[in-house]
Structures are given as C-alpha cells and as structure tokens.
Amino acid sequence: MDFFDSFPAMERQDLRDLKKGIDSSFRDFSRAYGDEIEGFFEPLLHFLVWLEKLLVNAPWLVVIIGLAILAWLGSRSWKLVTGTVIAFLVIGYFGMWKDTMATLAIISVATLLCIAVGIPFGIWMARSDRVQAAVTPVLDVMQTIPSFVYLIPVVMLLGIGKVPGLIAVCIYAIPPLVRLTNLGIRLVDSEVLEAADSFGADYKQKLFGVQIPLALPNIFAGINQTIMMSLAMVVIASMIGVKGLGLPVLRAVSNQYLALGLLNGLAIVILAIIFDRVSQQYGRRLQAHREGSGSE
C-alpha cells in the first residue's frame, strides 16, 4: 500500500547528489572556460560601452536631431518625427535623459546582435526541414522559460555586468526574428522560385535576389518584435547590472516609490511606441510594390 500512499519519488539523498553534481560540473566548466568566454564577448562589451558613452556624452540637442533624422528615414512621416522629438524632450524634462540613453544603447546593441545571429539562423532553418524541426523546440524553450532561470547560468559564467544582461535580453528577444525569417522565406511563392530556377539562378542568386527581398516584410515584423521584447527585458536585465531605465524601476519596486516607477515605466513605453511605429512604417514602405493601382 505504501506505493500508492506516497509518490515513488527519487531518494532525497540521490536527488541532492544529482543536483550537486550538475551544479559542481557547471561550476567547474565556468571556472575552466569562463575567462575565454568572457574574452569572446569582449568586443561586444567595448562596442556597448562606446555607444552608451557616445549617447550620454553627446549634447542632448544633437542626439534629438539624430533621432529625428532616423525617424524620418524610417517612416517618411512628419507626424512621427514630431512625436519622437516631443517624446524625448518630455523624457529629458523629467530627468530621465541619462537612463534613457543607456537603455537606448543596450536596445540598439541587442537588436543588432539579434539581427546578426537571428537572420542567418532563420535562413538556415528555411533551407532544411530537419534544422527547422530541431530548432523550433529550442525557440519554444527560449520564449517560455522564466528569464530568471537562464540568468543563473549566465551570471555563473560571466558574472554581473553589461554582457550577461545583453545575452539575457537576446535569448528572450531573438526567437521571433528567427521564426519570422524562416516563415518569410518559406512563404515565398514557389512558382517565382521555379521561374528563378528556370533562368539558371544559383542558390545565392535565389537567396539574395528573390527569397530575402520577398521575405523582407516578415523579417521586418520579426525585427519589430525583437525590439519590443528587448525593451520588455530592460527591468530584468537591470537586476544583473545593466544600467538604464530598468534600474529606477527596480528601486521603485523595492522601496514602493510609485511616482519613480511610473515615470520610468512610461519612458520605456514611449521608447517602445516610437520604435514600433517607425519600424512598422518602414516595413510598410518595403511593401510598396504590392499595392497595385487596380488597373485590372
């Protein structure tokens, strides 16, 4: 009857040994290779620090003009440009300029890193069903596992700082880009591809001349999602030493500073809205060719 009364679980001692074993072997691993892995990410750290310093130290007017130009290039809409300028002026007025710049820096670097890794991965996935079958569950895990869980090994390996924060952001933010790149390429009309084949296009010509251009709207939706999700990670990243708007939010939570939390939270929302609108507008412009004039 014992069997039914209590779940036939592992012996406590065995379980403890198992966990200990995993912990100690990972600790050994991080002791042995931690420095090398940190060295590998060194250039990324330098770039991030450089960008952050640039944004923080540059005169605020120059930064706002730069952002306005970027918004114009992306959206070609005066409304959005005006909105962007006003939003940053308000943020600065409420004393969040420095933190916003730090967040801007990490979001930019995280997005660039995600693009550099995610798009090639998506292309690889689109090329082979086997790769797709293998990568899809990994992406599912990356999106659903609580971020705190993967913060543990990242911190064990790299300690506290900007780079582990960046990696934590990327783990969370990269899956939609990989998925949408894969999807976009797979959705390219097979007849158009056949036509490219019939004219003797090789793999590279098909990829860069047909598949990627036609998948761009989807890839862009992926980039948009990546930006949104990395903004969502700002607070969590601040727990392991990333400067920016997340830090005051964290402070507000632990000390019950309502106004501080609200202001910084709203600043994150404003950043998100600007990024979202500009990148969506850009994605829409890429699809200009789809809008027929209806001369049927």
């Binding site: 158009v192 056949e194 036509a195 019939s198 003797g200 296009a201 090789d202 060719h289 789809r290 004039s293």
Partner: protein, 361 residues
C-alpha cells in the same frame, strides 16, 4: 488526301530534331526506382496508386520537336503535360529516359552545365506568370540577363527592346501588381525572349487569360515566331489554341501520348474515341485546310487555291464563282490536285459518333 500528308512529312524530314524525348518515365513516390519494374510490366496507373502508393506521372513518352517548330502538347489537367515540359529544362528529374536537346542529354548534365543550359539555351513562360513582384517591368524582363551577369547598360538596352516588341512601352517602371493579366504575361514573354534562348518552353502560358486577350497573345506569339524561328514547346488544355498555334500536336492522356500529328491529321484521323470526342466541337471549316481533302490531279480547272487555304475560305471562293471544284497549287504555283465542293462539305460535317463509323480510316 494522301498526297497532302506526304508533303508535310517531307518538310519534317528536312528540318533537324531539336528536342528529342526518349522513353521518358516519371513516377512520383518514395521508391520510384523499384516500382519501375512493375511499370515496365504494364501495371495500370490506378493499380500502381492503390497497391503501391506511387503516382505514374509519365509513361514511355517519345516526342520529337523539330528545330524552329511549335510543338503543342495538349491534355486535360492531370494528364502530365506540365510535368513533361519541366523535364526539358530538368526542373523535374525523371525516373528513367532521355531528354536530348541539340543531341546533348539534359539529364546527364552536371549542375554547372545545367545552370548554363537554363541560362542560355531554354527559357520558360509560366501559367501564372511567376513574375518577381518586387521588381519593375524592366527589371523583370532583364532578370535572366542579370542572372548571367550581363552588364547593366546591356541589360537595359536589351530589356527595352523586348518591352517594345511585346507592346509594353511606357510601362517600364510599373510593378507587376499594377498590370492586368495580359500585360503581366507580356512581361513573362519578354523576360523569356530577352535571354535569346533558342528554345522557348511555354507552360499553359495563356490559359489564365480572358479569351479575347488569349487570342491577342496567340497572335503576338505567332507574329514573333515568324521572325524569330524559335523552337517552342507549348502546353495547353485548349484544343482551339492547340490547333491555332501548333505545327505539330501531341495529345497526352493519363501520362501517355495518345496521338501525335499535325492539326490536319488529328482532326481528320482521330486515333481513338477519346480524341474523337475531344475534337467534335472544333470549327472544322476553319481548322481543316485544302491539302487535307484534295485529290491528286494535274488538271488546271476552276479557281486556284493554295495548299493551306482553310476550307471555309475555299468553299466561299467556290460558291462565289459558282464552281463545284477548284484546283490546288503548291507554293511554286504548280497544280498538284483538285478539290470538290461536295468533299469539302462532307469534311466539315460534324462527326456524329466515333471515327470508325465516319470511315476516315
């Protein structure tokens, strides 16, 4: 009528065979190689599908396309015609057989050779146009040349030339989505012509168009062909289109060729009930030509008619002049036969039942 056919055969024998498809089989399925033996033993398409899970796409296809000729391959959907045309540039790999183009076996080519073959020897026009939606008309037309890494000025010059030829001048910077179906297919045609390939593969190229525009496009194609003399393989499910365009017609059914010949031969001598049924609604007076019903004769009496005069024109001429017979002349003006009005009338009569009862054979 025998004399007429011999004339045609002679013309064929002179010109070279550009494309030769020999003993071509295509079986769709995981284990195609192994069920080939069953197919060789004559298993039916139905049985192969039900008992072995393989689809017989093409069975023992033998088709020759003479140089500078339009060979129409006609069949209903599912007859394997689109599969067949994709073997010529090897968009589909066969299960067994040979596809010789200019004496060279396309199926033995290495990847590099195949790439060059597709770039310079054979270009294709697709049923649903398959244009690149993110490129303008002129960029679409120049696509094949861009693949070949031709210089940009040369691409623009040659693309412009073909855009003008298909009548799209002024639409260079439009996107495909801004054009009507007929105009899109003109882009498709110009794109295929721009590479100067000797072989043009047209997969139901005009089937997606409205009847009026389709006739229009057929006219454009025939007009271009008079000058360009390409070797064209043209797929269609439309008999009228086949009869209008094809120098030679092959009829495909369930992956097998059921009859090959000129339009005259097919309309006069359908080889089985299936084809007889197919052609029963054809406008025979327009399709049939004098050569198909003429009797050999040297007598120069009555109005003179060319070998290729359609019967409707010939009959019109005879009745206009009040004659009951005319004489048929070859392209040098020599009288080679005669045609009776009564023979013409019975030839255009719509066959009521099968070919056997009509006494055509």
């Amino acid at each position: 009528m025998g004399a007429g056919f011999k004339h045609i055969e002679r013309v064929q024998a002179v010109s070279e065979q550009k494309i030769q498809i020999k003993n071509l089989y295509k079986i769709f399925g995981n284990d195609a190689e192994n069920v080939m033996d069953l197919v060789n033993d004559g298993i039916s398409k139905q049985e192969l599908l039900e008992n072995h899970g393989h689809v017989l796409g093409l069975r023992n296809i033998n088709i020759d396309v003479p140089e500078k000729c339009i060979r129409v391959i006609m069949g209903l959907s599912g007859s394997g015609k689109s599969t067949l045309i994709r073997h010529i540039n090897r968009l589909i790999e066969p299960t067994s057989g040979q596809v010789l183009v200019g004496g060279e076996d396309v199926l033995m080519m290495s990847d590099e050779e195949l790439k060059n073959f597709r770039r310079s020897k054979a270009s294709m026009v697709f049923q649903k146009f398959a244009l690149l939606p993110h490129r303008t008309v002129i960029e679409n037309v120049g696509y094949g040349l861009q693949i070949q890494k031709v210089s940009e000025t040369e691409i623009n010059k040659r693309s412009q030339h073909w855009i003008d030829r298909v009548g799209l001048t002024g639409f260079e910077d439009h996107y495909p989505a801004q054009l009507s179906g007929g105009m899109q297919q003109r882009v498709g045609l110009a794109r295929a012509l721009a590479t100067d390939a000797e072989i043009l593969l047209m997969d139901e190229a005009f089937s997606a168009l409205d009847p009026l525009i389709r006739t229009d496009m057929q006219g454009i194609l025939l007009g271009l062909q008079e000058e360009l003399h390409k070797t064209i393989v043209f797929i269609t499910h439309d008999l009228d289109e086949a009869l209008r365009i094809g120098d030679e017609i092959s009829i495909l059914r369930d992956g097998e060729v059921v009859q090959q010949g000129t339009s005259q031969e097919i309309v006069m001598n359908p080889s089985d009930d299936y084809i007889a049924d197919f052609i029963k609604d054809v406008n025979r007076a327009r399709v049939l030509e004098v050569r198909s019903i003429m009797e050999p004769s040297k007598t120069d009496r009555g109005p003179r008619l060319d070998l290729t005069t359609p019967l409707e024109d010939a009959m019109g001429k005879l009745s206009e002049l009040g004659e009951t017979s005319g004489c048929v002349v070859d392209d040098k003006g020599h009288v080679i036969g005669k045609i009776e009005l009564s023979a013409a009338i019975s030839a255009i009569k719509r066959p009521e039942k099968t070919s056997d009862e009509l006494g055509y054979r």
